[in-house]
Symmetry: C2
Subunit: 213 residues, 2 copies
């Protein structure tokens, strides 16, 4: 994955949200400055790893003196694109869709949920967390007119690829996919898969290996 | 993370569920043998990476001839502990809890959901996907008597650490946590956090950087 044209390892990118989260917690505790050593202890990453990670993005300065927490929080937020206010739709208003629509953290992070789509007539017209459920037939016009950037896919496995292809056609920029499929998309559509079962299998591995120790 | 006393990088462990998933799909298509080259193409990992990954677990043999898909599937499943039939409870029967309880993939992977707990009297006594919702007060006795091994935590943030501590006390082996907190647990309890919002932030990063390219 690139940053300003330079390659950045995927593992480094994946640590950015964690840094962002921790820095947000520090701010809540009114902690304004932190050394890489103290941040390292909280994050369970070595201080030199933190400095290396930050160097991909210009370093954020002031090693000896410690980092300015608010500045770092804002800079990492901007790198993550959290200041963009991405225009978002949710496709699929089942249990998982409901859970996602009710998840307060999204709006706090600047993702604007503008509509929910479902093909179940009983669901259409209902309102989840202040957002109306529209029928699938209206999706194309809505995505194009409202210039939707992100679609959250909380659909049955069989329906996902087809809807992903259509959304890519209609100009979507990113897909956040909860179906247990590996989406194939056009190159210019970003995809993040949340394969929850993979995480459960990793837990299973940890338990099993802990028993063998 | 360890395997038979040897350290295995966490990224390698995290690829195991993906291998398992792909091999399962190959089996469904009745593909019985696959070269590391062909597997590499499907997995979007280099063939040498695959061989390196497998070497942590003894190699699984037969490079020139290709891998036996069923053997590999079963071996990786065993390494992941999927043959253990872990005794599982779900704590929290909200939208996310419902989505998790209805997620067919868990039972297919050998996780046995034995009870669901919720402190909402309206929820207690209902049945989700064939599993009864019990009141929180019965959790301690149930976990101890039924020797529950895994607890899925789909709870409000504020309640999670307290219940995690209690479950650790009652002998649970692993926690699958969906709350947006970093759980601190006793060392012998395995924890997997599903921080969905981190994944959304990563998607946001990818979209933003794609625009800058």
């Amino acid at each position: 994955m690139q940053y300003n044209g330079k390659a950045v390892p995927a593992v480094v990118i994946r640590r950015l949200p964690r840094y962002y989260r921790y820095l947000g917690e520090l701010l809540k505790q009114d902690i304004r400055r932190i050394s890489s050593g103290a941040l390292s202890e909280k994050m369970n990453v070595t201080a030199s790893q933190i400095r290396q990670d930050f160097n991909y993005f210009g370093g954020f300065g002031q090693q000896g003196y410690g980092y300015n927490v608010e500045y770092l929080y804002q800079e990492i937020g901007a790198i993550l694109g959290l200041d963009e206010g991405y225009r978002t739709i949710l496709v699929g208003a089942g249990n998982l869709g409901h859970a996602l629509a009710n998840h307060g953290a999204f709006e706090k992070r600047g993702f604007r949920l503008m509509a929910i789509f479902d093909n179940d007539p009983k669901m259409v017209g209902t309102v989840i967390n202040g957002v109306e459920v529209l029928p699938d037939e209206e999706m194309e016009a809505f995505v194009k007119e409202q210039q939707i950037e992100i679609a959250i896919l909380a659909l049955p496995k069989a329906a996902t690829q087809k809807i992903a292809d259509a959304l890519a056609e209609w100009g979507i920029k990113g897909l956040w996919n909860f179906s247990y499929v590996e989406l194939k998309t056009k190159k210019n559509v970003a995809v993040e898969n949340v394969h929850m079962i993979d995480s459960l299998m990793t837990l299973s591995y940890k338990i099993k290996q802990a028993e063998n120790e």
